[in-house]
Amino acid sequence: MLRESLEPWCAAGVTGALRILDPPGGVVYVVDGRVAYAETPVASGVERLLTASGRLPADAWRAAVTAGRAQHRIGPELVDAGLVTQAELEALGVIALYDAAFFLFDLVVAAHFEHRARHPVGHLRTLDLRTVCQEVDRRKRLLADAWPDAAIDTAAVLPQRRLRSQCVALTALQWEVVANADRRRSPIDLARLLGRDTFTVMLEVRRMARTGLVEPGRPGGSAAAESVATVRARAAAGVTATATATAQPGRHAKPVAEPAPGPPPEPPGEPRPHVPLPRRAVRQEPDRRTELAGTLDTRVPEQILTRLIAGLGAL
């Protein structure tokens, strides 16, 4: 999983970016071994949180990008212009980071690390990798508790046309969701439209579904919603394939690899070490097979990364 591929980089205290090559795509930025920022097209980044929410005019953001992009100073440009405070920017940065990490951290994807790559927004609050992982797990639990079926996140939000009760209380965010639900938009589309973080909108929609205020409709048509649905279906297919594969021991190595297509990760400029075969024997332990099947693809890069870091340390 992606969070495991991040471990050696964070442990080594390097600065750079882990770029995800498979869909949905995204980048995790690491500064001195701490997670500084993460982004993916399916989550709301700092730009969306600032402009689509109406907090900043889009022109002001564009001006800051023009002025500060090359020097990685978009954030300081905004702060110097008095448009946002550093505290506000940092808070939005953490929200955007958690939002992207929610979608990215449990993916089994090909990724490759770019040394010294930095995000153009500039310095934001950095977090410990473990803190981010704990937060991602907490968010998964919260969503599952509110409404167990994840298909609701990519399905059109249908507010009930008529309620059985006499009175209903909504939070401001729930109101925004209901007022902007056009019976086609999914929670992911609504978050983008409103400039809210995707997790919070998904959570509020699930909570409203639980109280019977909205119901999931047909799967949403937008590219972002489709991308999330596809990635999730593939992850689920990977788990099922593993389950059937482990039922027939001895030939389970091949079917596991199939449901996760995509190019193998290539560490640039370094020769690929041999994949140690004894690893395969470990995977046959019955109690750990589901967990390890998911990590199959990352085992290889992780080892390469650990070796690379050992090599770099020696230099």
Partner: protein, 132 residues
């Protein structure tokens, strides 16, 4: 502007200022819709995991109680104070232009802490948190 000198205020500054209060045990900045901790200093009451969830639950309850929320501006709650055996718990809602999603939380010692000073400091930080 009166506070112009302290314009570059980051989250650590906010937390340091709160931790400088008399009798403070811990302070944190919580994103209230998602229940995520954006930054924390000092310690929280009980296990660390539960504090933001409890604070968020408290704010939810207050906001949904019409009698508290509709005095003055519609649904305008400034802060929530809980006086408990283990101290004062103050939750200050930050009102930004568009949305009020951040909450500053301070846990004060009951014997040594000064509730009014804490509320005053929270107001000052709240006014500087978002650029107008």
């Amino acid at each position: 502007m009166f506070f112009r000198g302290a314009a570059v205020l980051d989250i650590d500054d906010c937390l340091h200022r709160l931790m400088a209060l008399q009798g403070v045990h811990g302070a944190s900045l919580i994103d209230y819709p998602s229940g995520s901790v954006i930054g924390a200093a000092g310690r929280g009451p009980g296990s660390r995991d539960d504090t933001p969830a409890d604070a968020v639950g408290m704010i939810h309850a207050t906001m949904q109680t019409a009698a508290f929320a509709t005095v003055g501006q519609p649904a305008h709650v400034e802060d929530i104070v809980i006086t408990a055996g283990n101290g004062y718990h103050v939750m200050r809602l930050l009102a930004s232009d568009v949305e009020a999603r951040m909450v500053l939380y301070v846990w004060l010692d009951r014997a040594v802490g000064n509730l009014v000073m804490a509320q005053r400091q929270l107001s000052v930080i709240a006014s500087q948190f978002s650029a107008n």
